[in-house]
């Protein structure tokens, strides 16, 4: 009967030291047990209430982890050692000015369409939620139309629109125009691409924004109204900040789709990141794989930056919604280091 009680006392003395668990039985066990009482350690026999519970072990989980790690290692090894990927050529292309120029175009188109699309989305969502049936119907129809038509079709129609509408005029609706634009001078490739993406983006963004606004409790609207807060203040300071908590994750999803969607602007002869890769690929056919990898890595970098930004934006808007905001990676690291230091201290004191 001494053996089980000894093994339990081991757990108490060095709770976080995995080493002691696997030590051969007799020698180290008697060591701490003997010196224990001398440095005010716990006596070998402790009441049950003072024992720390030994957590359940999960051997299946560990085996699955090993299998997955082996598979991942194999994949990475193949990635590095397979000559098919031509990492040397990848290195050659990765920071070439021609690729970076494409990257700038991608960033420009993305940023412009994201902003215009979001503003358009907010307007469409507000129209959809308004009391006017006309505004509601127009908003609904817009969303219905642009969600139905593939983005590539929208882009190609706009690209060819200069043939449909020769000039654009500002003036009285159906009446005389005051300012005339020649569309071929107005509709540069960048404008066409941005316009197409923004129109498409606004349709999706409006649903995201609308869902966010609907997620705000009716009591919040009532409280804001009962305090006599002005209309604009109610929306910008009370409803929108709470809606954004629901909007941000979906909108980032949307934004990542947009970043990758910009690769379609190649078809309206705008040379973005993908366009340049495609271009170079047809000039240097042997480099097509490393060029595609260059595009892949750049798109991964862009979406990663967005994902990191998402974490902090979400954290900002969770103030008040959660009792405690989630820790940043830096804070997690600090806690982990502190925890490790604490464990080391425990081991140090146990080992004298």
């Amino acid at each position: 009967m001494t053996e089980p009680s000894l093994s339990v006392s081991r757990q108490v003395e060095a709770p976080s030291s995995a080493l002691t668990d696997h030590r051969p039985e007799p020698v180290p066990d008697t060591g701490p047990a003997d010196t224990g009482p001398a440095d005010a350690g716990p006596a070998p026999q402790r009441p049950l209430s003072a024992q720390r519970v030994i957590p359940l072990r999960h051997p299946g989980r560990w085996m699955a982890t090993v299998v997955v790690l082996v598979l991942v290692a194999q994949f990475v090894h193949g990635l590095v050692s397979n000559p098919f990927y031509q990492w040397g050529r990848f290195q050659y292309w990765f920071l070439r000015p021609v690729i970076l120029n494409g990257l700038v175009i991608t960033l420009e188109v993305t940023a412009l369409s994201a902003v215009i699309g979001l503003v358009g989305g907010v307007v469409l969502a507000l129209a959809r939620l308004s009391r006017s049936p006309i505004l509601r119907a127009v908003s609904w129809t817009y969303v219905w139309l642009f969600r139905s038509v593939p983005l590539i079709v929208v882009l190609l129609i706009l690209y060819n629109a200069s043939a449909l509408y020769k000039t654009l005029s500002l003036g009285v609706p159906f009446g005389p125009g005051f300012v005339h634009f020649n569309e071929s001078s107005l509709a540069t490739d960048l404008v066409v691409a941005t316009l197409g993406l923004s129109l498409n983006e606004a349709a999706y963004a409006s649903e995201v924004v609308r869902a966010g606004i609907l997620s705000v409790d009716q009591g919040q609207h009532e409280a804001a109204a009962s305090l006599g807060l002005p209309r604009g203040y109610q929306f910008t300071r009370i409803v929108l900040p709470q809606a954004l908590r629901a909007i941000v994750p979906s909108y980032v999803n949307q934004l990542i789709g947009l970043i990758k969607g910009t690769s379609l602007v190649f078809y309206v002869s705008l040379l973005d990141l993908f366009g340049e890769v495609q271009n170079m690929g047809s000039t240097y056919p042997s480099d097509i794989v490393p060029l595609l990898l260059v595009a892949t890595v750049w798109y991964v970098i862009l979406t990663s930056v967005v994902s990191v930004a998402q974490f902090y934006v979400e954290r900002y808007y969770s103030r008040g919604a959660l009792r405690t905001v989630p820790p940043t990676p830096l804070q997690k690291l600090r806690t982990a280091v502190r925890g490790l230091r604490g464990r080391l201290e425990v081991i140090r004191t146990v080992n004298g």
Binding site: A223, A225, S226, G228, L229, G320
Partner: protein, 274 residues
């Protein structure tokens, strides 16, 4: 203030200094309201004198909350009208007709009437002090610094001076409701409406909220309280109103309505609640 055609001068416009607000009287005339075929208010006439504490009792669905919400135009009446301090709420008289006011004018009226909800409805993304300071700042009555000072003094009054920078979800229900009362007080209202302020609270927390309301009752502000707390009604009410089926069945001082009810429906209700 706005284009109200009421002849009586309004007195609820708050002056710069707190504590100078005059209590507001409330008059409700011929109030009818239906949701579809369900008639929730069936001809209500009620007068609450300035400075009175009125407690509205009645079973669920008797129209108490709807009546209270009509007082600051959160509900639009089908027929009848409400006036506070002699000023029509939500409508203006044009000849012999009533026209609904613009949203801006209605918001301005509401900014002089406090409203405390059953579910608190604090703004979860704002700290306690910002919840209270929001209305005085947004309506342009006070600078940010003044509003913060006002908020802190109101927090002291409801016994939560140490919670100024907490967020609502970090507080207990009773504390949240006391913040909500402080938020209503920040309007410096002549009238405060309470819609079952303790119904969402644990029995233990009811006392702390009622204590704050009792404290307000001594300050001279007109209060209308919808509640199920009969003891509270007996202790502080000047006027007890018993409603059932969208009508006022009986009203009078607590000594009459609570201790010597005339109507069988009132007696039946009180026998179940007490």
């Amino acid at each position: 203030m706005s284009a109200t055609a009421t002849p009586a001068p309004t007195d609820a416009v708050p002056t710069g200094e707190p504590g100078q607000v005059r209590p507001a009287g409330v008059e409700i005339h011929g109030a009818y309201k239906s949701y579809g075929t369900n008639r929730v208010l069936n001809g209500i006439d009620l007068t609450v004198q300035p400075g009175q504490i009125a407690v509205i009792l009645g079973p669920s669905g008797s129209g108490k909350s709807t009546l209270l919400r009509a007082v600051n135009h959160l509900e639009r009446l089908d027929l009848g009208h409400v006036s506070v301090s002699g000023e029509l709420i939500g409508v203006r008289r044009q000849g012999d007709r009533l026209k609904e006011l613009s949203e801006r004018a209605i918001l301005a009226q509401r900014a002089r009437i406090g409203f405390v909800f059953q579910g608190f409805n604090l703004f979860p993304h704002l700290s306690v002090v910002d919840n209270i300071a929001a209305a005085p700042v947004a309506t342009g009555r006070r600078s940010k610094a003044e509003a913060r000072e006002l908020a802190l003094s109101l927090l002291e009054r409801v016994g939560l001076a140490d919670k100024a920078d907490a967020y609502p979800r970090q507080l207990s229900g009773g504390q949240q409701q006391r913040v909500a009362i402080a938020r209503a007080l920040a309007l410096e209202p002549g009238l405060i409406l309470f819609d079952e302020p303790t119904s969402a609270l644990d029995p233990e927390l009811v006392g702390e909220v009622l204590a704050v309301i009792k404290d307000l009752a001594t300050s001279g502000t007109t209060l209308i309280v919808v509640t199920h707390e009969i003891g509270f009604a007996r202790e502080v009410a000047d006027l007890v109103v018993f409603m059932d089926g969208g009508r006022i069945v009986e009203q009078g001082p607590p000594s009459e309505v609570l201790d010597n009810p005339q109507h069988p429906r009132t007696r039946e209700f009180l026998s179940k609640v007490l």
